[in-house]
Amino acid sequence: MNPQFTGAVALEGMILLPGCALFRPQQGQLVVADVHLGKAASFRAKGVPVPECSTSDNFDRLDRFLALTAARQLVILGDLSHDALARRKARDPWITWRDRHPALDVVLVPGNHDLKGSRRFPVEVRRGESSGAATVAVVDQVWPGLRVVEPVWSSEGLVLLHDAETVSDAALGGTRAVGPQTSVLPDESPTKVLALCGHRHPVVRVPTLAGRHALRRPCFFLDRRACLHLPAFGSFTGGHSVDPLPGERVFVDAIDRVLALPRGFGARSRARGSI
């Protein structure tokens, strides 16, 4: 691995970077999920006080990752925007940021928030292969420099999508006939990641030494269907705890490094919880 990626973890030719991003060096592809641009502004407009913060912070962090990786392509695994209001509020900052990276190819795999309300992002849909979400209307307020692909997008040997729950195992490209019951990854076999997804905002509670306090940190989560869930990238996003089953893996974002939790971590934490 390139020594400049300090604190990162390599996984099947992918690099899990501290700060909630993933880089595929061979493809020059930087992948993030759940940016939720404009969420804070949308909250404020609804009368909930949130400091002016995250939009510029999100762009600054993206800039840092682009500089670090020299990526040619940025893929956003859905929920780039929070809602219709947010899309309106964040359009100008988006254009400003986009102008800074004219050569970058920016791809959005649309997520549920991108498809919610008016001013939805237009999607390139070829006739005849429309999936469930392909009814998305093309509207006028397009963000310039944003290529929106179909909700389940194959790229360089991986399936990229927003919400893996809505998709069958076959669509994830599983060569094995896997179902929820049979698809336990054998603990010692090398894992073969089939898909990258977002939506879940995975966080994990890591118990501290004596067990009373737990640290809650974002994480990468590799589930039984060989789908790698990316942590939410956005500065103003919450998280949902994951509780890994045997064979599932968790990579915690520990601020300046990513740490692979041991196999069997979840089974242990669950056993303790239920005593």
């Binding site: 009368g47 030494l209 998280g239 041991p262």
Partner: protein, 837 residues
């Protein structure tokens, strides 16, 4: 006018005569004071007629006038006139909405059947009141309105608040001792300040149970001119203890479990009626089951009562208790308050009484007959609790009762109040500041703090950091601050209140019957098919769906008991003092009472192996086990103070030499457990125990923990940052937790001077770590020698700390170092468990 008044007076006299009662001196005194337009606080033991004293006084003073006014209004309105009926004359605040209907019954009863019954109408307005009833009230307000602090605030958020509440002549606050120390009390203070500003002659009367600072409590409610009226009836309270047969020398919290069940059942056999109080709901469930097993014939005559049970079930139990159909009720603090029922013969308290006032209140449930003593029997769940029984008796005899203080400058409640008023009549900032300053919680409130709160609701932050597009409250054309948008006003009204609890999951049979609610955090840990005790039944979880846990009756087997929050209440200062006196006497060889004689073997062994913790010096025990080095310290100041002290000591020790400690606490002391030994010199270093820098050290050591962030959850809810009552959309508390922690992080990063953050830290300091008591404790320690003993094995006092499961982790090492070490440990543990398989 005087004619009607004498009519009322006759009616009141008649009320007493019919029941064969004699009005008590304190009641007549109250009537006189109310008649003279005074305000004050009435204190009398439970069941001696406090309610009659205040209610009849209010009617005597205001009843006649109100009737005239209502008639006048009706005449003015004409038949089928407008709906702007004149507001209520008396507002009666009850701390629990479950008590409101009881109160309505008690008040209505006084004039039942007389000509006045019709005119002195009593209405209830709380969260349980139907919208039809609300609409009726709006057409014609009752003479007296019984309500909760939340519903009163909700009335302030009405556009016609000035009209409806402007005619109130008197506010009565029942169970003021329950409200005084809480944010609900602050909410009430603010509402009262607003009402006083509307009608300066407003009378305010409170009723309170025993408190250490009654006179102060009266002033806090009413102001400097408060009258304090006490009943001259004093009830003697007897405390005894159900002693286990053998003395256990090594005991941990709860180790006695249900051992004393048979003894308790025998005690209950003899009583015609009894209450069994427990400290937690899970304990109540356990004891109910155990007693039912011990005496199957009690089925139908024994019931369970706690706050998680369905309202209807609780009502049924209360009614059955009143009518004497039940022989035994196992209950929690849910029966501490209000609910008027005839005294029971026997009151038992399972586990530590924790506080003197609490025990007195519970004891007061027995022996109401004039002259009869109230009596409570303690059932220890832990060997050391036997000593607490003797200590509690001392404290009651010496009349050393806990005091309650009001919260200081709770900004979140102020923020809520600002928006509440802005939803209703609006406010002028300068006037409101003066008004708010008249409340004890905000006395001397800095103009800059008020300004901050105003900016926060107006623009999110101060002018330099104003949040764009955020406008909850704005300046209206009439010069008042108002909420301009109806959607925001509606959402605010639905979120008024300061009670924040873990989201409740309804427990329901598959066939439909509702059993009650449990915390989401408990249910979410259960798997399908898991069994738990609830509502006196063994239940099996079938599925969890949309905040409802569907259950069926389980086959008898092993049960997991619901573990609810709570039950971590610390020993009060007064109890702790009494306990230390008892231990000191024991150290001097005095074992006067049966309890002390029972505990003698335990205490003797403690003295033999180490020493008894007492008044002489601070006992510290050091012990090296295979796992590491244990330090046991016994300040005897209650678990909260111990937690704070242990955290600060751990922090200070680690500052000298990087180390990480785990902490266990109980009411007697604490354990610091680490990998390396703490040198004697480090322990004897005065700076370790110094009160200097205590505040900073507290703040630093809490930053390492999540306490303040957890505290912020409630603050975010009260200040209106997160909402949980959107109709039709049950919002899971986990989502709410995530949101409040998100707010915490965002404020910390982008608006670090936000006063709500500071409040969270202050609340942790004051409420969770009891900074003031911590200070007292450190001063005490500084004035006494340290007695350091090296022990070869855990002593009777050390043992429960070792067993104590509650452990507080702390470390000042870097987060990722900690994580890395954790990972290493987890790896090792995983390898060990693999090897075992």
């Amino acid at each position: 006018m005087s004619g009607t008044h004498s009519g009322l007076a006759a009616c009141v006299e008649n009320y007493f005569k019919q029941r064969g009662w004699e009005a008590l001196p304190f009641q007549r005194e109250t009537w006189k004071a109310i008649g003279a337009g005074r305000s004050g606080l009435v204190h009398a033991p439970t069941g001696t007629g406090k309610t009659q004293a205040v209610w009849l006084g209010a009617c005597l003073r205001w009843g006649a006038q109100a009737t005239g006014t209502v008639q006048a209004t009706r005449a003015a309105q004409g038949p089928g006139g407008g709906n702007d009926g004149i507001g209520p004359r008396i507002v009666w605040i009850t701390p629990m909405r479950a008590l409101a209907s009881d109160a309505a019954h008690a008040l209505g009863e006084a004039f039942l059947g007389s000509a006045w019954g019709d005119r002195l109408k009593v209405g209830v307005r709380s969260g349980d009141t139907s919208s039809a009833e609300r609409a009726r009230q709006q057409k014609r307000w009752p003479f007296a309105l019984i309500t909760t602090p939340e519903s009163l605030s909700l009335m302030l958020a009405r556009a016609d608040a000035e009209l409806v509440l402007g005619e109130v002549r008197m506010v009565v606050v029942d169970e003021w001792h329950e409200l005084i120390g809480s944010k609900r009390g602050v909410q009430l203070q603010l509402a009262l300040a607003w009402m006083r500003a509307q009608s300066p002659a407003l009378q305010v009367w409170g009723m309170s149970a025993s408190l250490g600072n009654l006179a102060e409590a009266a002033r806090l409610l009413v102001g400097p001119d408060a009258m304090l009226i006490r009943s001259r009836q004093t009830k003697s309270i007897e405390v005894d203890c159900l002693l286990p047969e053998a003395t256990t020398r090594f005991a941990w919290a709860g180790h006695l479990g249900l051992q004393l069940c048979e003894a308790v059942a025998r005690r209950l056999d003899e009583a015609a009626s009894a209450l069994v109080f427990t400290n937690t709901r899970s304990q109540a469930e356990l004891w109910y089951q155990a007693l039912l097993e011990a005496r199957p014939q009690w089925a139908g005559r024994m019931a369970l009562h706690h706050a998680s049970l369905d309202l209807e079930v609780r009502h049924w139990v209360e009614q059955a208790l009143k009518s004497g159909r039940l022989q035994v009720v196992v209950c929690t603090s849910s029966l501490d308050l209000g609910v008027d029922f005839s005294p029971v013969e026997c009151v038992l308290q399972i586990g530590s009484p924790k506080g003197v006032a609490r025990l007195m209140q519970r004891a007061g449930r027995s022996g109401h007959q004039p002259g009869a003593a109230a009596r409570v029997t303690l059932v220890p769940t832990h060997a050391l609790e036997v000593i607490e029984a003797a200590a509690a008796r001392d404290a009651i005899q010496a009349h050393e009762i806990e005091s309650r203080r009001v919260p200081h400058w709770p900004i979140d409640v102020l923020v809520q109040h600002l928006v509440t008023l802005a939803c209703g009549p609006g406010f002028v900032p300068a006037d409101l500041l003066e008004q708010v300053r008249t409340t004890p919680s905000f006395s001397g409130l800095g103009a800059s703090v008020f300004q901050w709160a105003l900016h926060f609701v107006e623009r999110g932050g101060e002018s330099l950091r104003a949040y764009p597009d955020h406008h909850r409250v704005g300046l209206a054309d009439d010069g008042r601050m108002r909420v301009m948008r109806q959607d925001l006003a509606r959402r605010h009204r639905m979120n008024i209140g300061t009670i924040v609890s873990d989201a409740a999951v309804t427990v329901r049979f598959l066939r439909g019957a509702r059993l009650g609610t449990v915390e989401e955090s408990f249910v979410s840990r259960l798997r399908k098919g898991a069994c738990f005790l609830f509502a006196g039944r063994l239940l099996e979880l079938v599925r969890l769906h949309e905040m409802t846990a569907y259950v069926r009756k389980a086959k008898p087997g092993k049960a997991a008991v619901p573990r609810w929050n709570g039950g971590k209440m610390p020993l009060s200062l007064e109890m702790a003092h009494a306990l230390r006196r008892r231990l000191q006497q024991a150290a001097e060889g005095h074992f006067a009472d049966p309890e002390m004689r029972w505990a003698e073997p335990l205490l003797a062994l403690q003295a033999h192996w180490s020493a008894l913790p007492g008044n002489e010096g601070l006992l510290i025990e050091r012990y090296a086990s295979r796992e590491g080095h244990h330090l046991f310290v016994y300040p005897l100041h209650g678990r909260q103070v111990h937690l704070g002290l242990a955290t600060v000591l751990g922090w200070r020790l680690a500052r000298e030499r990087p180390a990480s400690f785990s902490i266990a606490v109980n009411d007697y002391g604490f354990e610091l457990f680490g990998r390396s030994m703490v040198a004697d010199a480090a322990l004897r270093d005065a700076s370790l125990w110094s009160e200097e820098g205590l505040l900073d050290d507290c703040v630093s050591s809490f930053n390492a923990s999540e306490l303040a962030q957890r505290r912020f959850r409630e603050i975010a809810r009260v200040a209106g940052l997160v909402h949980n009552a959107t109709p039709g959309r049950g919002r899971s508390a986990r989502e709410l937790q995530a949101s409040s922690s998100l707010f915490w992080e965002v404020f910390l990063r982008y608006d670090s001077e936000n006063l709500l953050l500071e409040q969270a830290r202050r609340e942790v300091l004051q409420d969770e770590l009891e900074h003031d008591r911590l200070l007292v404790c450190l001063r005490e320690i500084a004035s006494r020698p340290l007695c350091i003993h090296t022990i070869e094995r855990p002593t009777p006092f050390a043992f429960p700390l070792m067993v104590e499961r509650l452990r507080e982790a702390m470390s000042n090492e870097q987060l990722n170092l900690r994580l890395a070490r954790m990972v290493e440990e987890l790896e090792r543990a995983a390898r060990v468990s693999e090897a075992l398989q």
